[in-house]
Amino acid sequence: MWQFLESIENSGFSTFVRETPSVLAYPTVLALHTFGMAFLVGLSGVIAVRVLGVAPALPLPPLARFFPLIMAGFWVNAATGVILTALAAQSMLSNPDFYIKLGAIGAALVCLGQLRHHAFGKAGNGATGAVPSKGRVWAGAMLTFWGIAVLAGRLTAYESDVRRQAAVAVVIAVLVLLAVRMLALRVGGAFNNRATFSARTASGPGIPTANH
């Protein structure tokens, strides 16, 4: 097995991509992997946050047009991912973090499929943009798995104790950011309610305003 991985790692192709001084080889494959991530996670994330209730004015059905770009992002990353794995086959395939990343990607894709089904399929009501609560669960799960995949992918380059500490720090920071957002929405919501209330009372009950 190790011999096999070693031969992949030392194949002419792997050696060329890894060692040629051209920026069009290794760094460009890496950059394409980042483009794919941005489109796959970024655009599927837009659908997910919309389903979760952000920007409710955004009609859901036209968002389905992003799917070709989302899938293009996935296939670019599948292809560049295979190349990047081949360059360091032994260290990658012996790294538990790498399997966490693959597992998280698989889980996120399952969630994406379910999200698509609930938000755009017959299960969802495309016309009104109403999404059954099941769709919201899949949306939240997908964002969580994408987060794990990106984090694990970034951490494959580090030693295991650094990985553990960085993972904990990232999870704490994300939870803090989510808590701040929730708090801000709550404070903002209370403020808005009061504003509409005082606007209503200011116009006076029962007195028709001029120029209407």
Binding site: L30, A31, F35, A38, P62, L63, R65, R154, V162, V170
Partner: protein, 169 residues
């Protein structure tokens, strides 16, 4: 000028933070990536709508995604500053030397500047107002499409050159 930059480009507190926490660099990198995703998800989705992808979306509604892109960009700036001003914790190289010698970092910074100018042009040319109330199913003016296309190109360029930075060290 050089001594001024040499002084201001090193933030001892950041350098100390990066040096004394083994997870600091990986932590910043992860949030740099989260920022990229938010930037493409927010700004990229807006650009795509202007370009005519998912034309069924009213522009005013897509605009609500822009703050997410701005937040993503802020994450990238904050973590990017952490990389630059605390760089010596990672490699024994002064940030001033990195900025003046790394051609890819210079390209990246130039593209960020161009993306900023492109955004300014979006407002200055009146395109922001022209698309503001664009209803679902309507094409944006050609100039707005050019600016949106330039925005996507420039931000992807920023990501590309960012990935090349280690090659230029």
């Amino acid at each position: 000028m050089e001594s001024f930059l040499r002084y201001w480009l090193v933030w001892p507190a950041v350098e100390h933070f990066n040096a004394s926490h083994s997870w600091a660099w990986a932590f910043a990198e992860t949030f740099h990536f989260f920022g990229i995703i938010l930037l493409i998800g927010g700004v990229g989705a807006f650009d795509l709508r202007i370009l005519g992808v998912a034309k069924g979306l009213p522009v005013a509604a897509v605009r609500r995604l822009l703050p997410w892109g701005v937040f993503g960009f802020s994450l990238c700036v904050a973590t990017g500053l952490q990389f630059v001003t605390g760089f010596r914790a990672n490699l024994p190289m002064h940030p001033y030397v990195v900025i003046t010698t790394d051609i890819w970092l210079q390209w990246k910074l130039l593209f960020i500047l161009l993306a900023g100018l492109n955004l300014a042009a979006f407002y200055a040319t009146g395109m922001s107002r022209a698309v503001e109330n664009l209803p679902a199913g309507t094409d944006a003016p050609a100039l707005a499409k050019v600016i949106a296309g330039a925005s996507l190109f420039l931000w992807l360029g920023v990501i590309y050159f960012g990935r090349l930075i280690p090659e230029g060290l």
